[in-house]
């Protein structure tokens, strides 16, 4: 995907393009040519590898901002209903497994560390480091999903899934409907987060293949860097989900 094989327009090949860009931006044309000749990973519409990396990181951050707003809408619903039904929120939170949630928090933190180390390995040109850390990240991400599966299964067994089979815990029948709202939000928020984890693992698999083929090094590691940003973002979402969903009712007592 380095260079287009055909000119964009008749009589306008990429060298001419680079020239016209250079003329308009005041950059020396020879510098551009050498930058493109040096690294085949430099796309023709960028001046330099620096500019290309910055544009990619900026693009990923803009996407992550839309993700912040996407999850933000769910957190907004959480806040509104929590202020309306504080007792139901605390009682429902009691039903979540703090130990499994805490272990999953740790798993995600370690996976963020291996992800950061994968980016670093690409920067230092260590192919083995990239492969080791990317596989580690994928294993940890899968571990998270397996633990999540057992948590979900327990909720089904305990009849805590919103719907016709929902049964409020003993003594909580009066606020059963309010608790269903909590569990609906619990399943939507953690479910969408888990979907992001699955997408992240697939991304890591793609990046792993590229790393395996030795595509990344000190001069080109944009996919690892940008994939890492996505992975860390999913970690951050969980950093907020864990206290808000699991720890809310940990100390016990309604109204707390």
């Amino acid at each position: 995907m380095a260079k287009p094989s055909t000119p964009l327009r008749p009589g306008l090949d990429e060298k001419t393009l680079a020239h016209s860009h250079a003329a308009s931006m005041g950059a020396p044309a020879h510098a551009l040519h050498s930058a493109h000749d040096e690294n085949p990973n430099l796309q023709h519409h960028f001046f330099s590898m620096d500019q290309q990396l910055e544009a990619s990181i900026l693009g990923m951050w803009v996407f992550l901002v839309t993700e912040v707003m996407f999850f933000g809408g769910l957190f907004m619903a959480y806040i509104v209903y929590r202020t309306m039904y504080p007792t139901a929120w605390v009682e429902s939170s009691h039903e979540l497994n703090v130990i499994l949630g805490g272990i999953n928090t740790g798993v995600l933190i370690v996976s963020s560390f291996t992800m950061a180390m994968a980016v670093r390995s690409a920067q230092t040109g260590s192919r083995n480091g990239q492969i080791f850390n990317l596989i580690g990240t994928m294993i940890l991400g899968s571990t998270f999903l397996v633990i999540k599966y057992f948590e979900y299964a327990a909720k089904f067994t305990h009849h805590l899934v919103p719907g016709p089979h929902f049964q409020a815990p003993a003594g909580m029948e009066a606020i059963g409907n309010q608790m269903q709202i909590f569990f609906a939000l619990y399943f939507i928020m953690t479910g969408i987060h888990a979907a992001h984890m699955v997408i992240g693992i697939v991304l890591m698999a793609v990046i792993l293949v590229m790393a395996w083929r030795g595509k990344f090094g000190p001069h080109y590691y944009t996919p690892v860097e940008v994939g890492g940003l996505y992975w860390h973002f999913v970690d951050i979402v969980w950093i907020f989900l864990f206290p808000l969903l699991y720890l809310l009712g940990f100390h016990g007592g309604p109204g707390a």
């Binding site: 990396l53 803009v62 912040v68 957190f75 703090v98 933190i109 950061a116 230092t124 890492g228 907020f240």
Partner: protein, 101 residues
């Protein structure tokens, strides 16, 4: 490129990782205590510190250009605006003793 993105030493990543672990343990411990109305603010403060550590060190925002920093901060700023304006509505509704509030 290495010129705009210096390579972070492994020790920095290790310290970040251990700090996140300690803060997770701290937030679980704090949650087991009852501070009344301060429970959620304490939990959220720890979460914000953890998120900042991830963004600043793991995501390498500290090495990015001001444009990217502004973009990242803008996302959380707009989120706070949404929370603030929405809750100013919901919280103030009971203040009016009128039907249909």
């Amino acid at each position: 490129m290495s010129s705009s993105h210096p390579i972070t030493p492994i020790s920095t990543y290790l310290i970040t990782w251990i700090s996140l672990f300690i803060l997770t343990g701290f937030t679980v411990y704090v949650a087991s205590q009852d501070f009344g109305a301060m429970n959620t603010p304490v939990a959220l403060t720890v979460a914000v510190i953890k998120a900042t550590l991830v963004v600043w060190f793991f995501m390498g925002l500290r090495y990015n250009t001001p444009l990217i920093k502004v973009t990242a901060v803008a996302g959380f700023l707009w989120l706070m605006i949404m929370f603030g304006i929405t809750m100013s509505d919901y919280i103030s509704r009971p203040w009016l003793g009128v039907p249909g509030r």
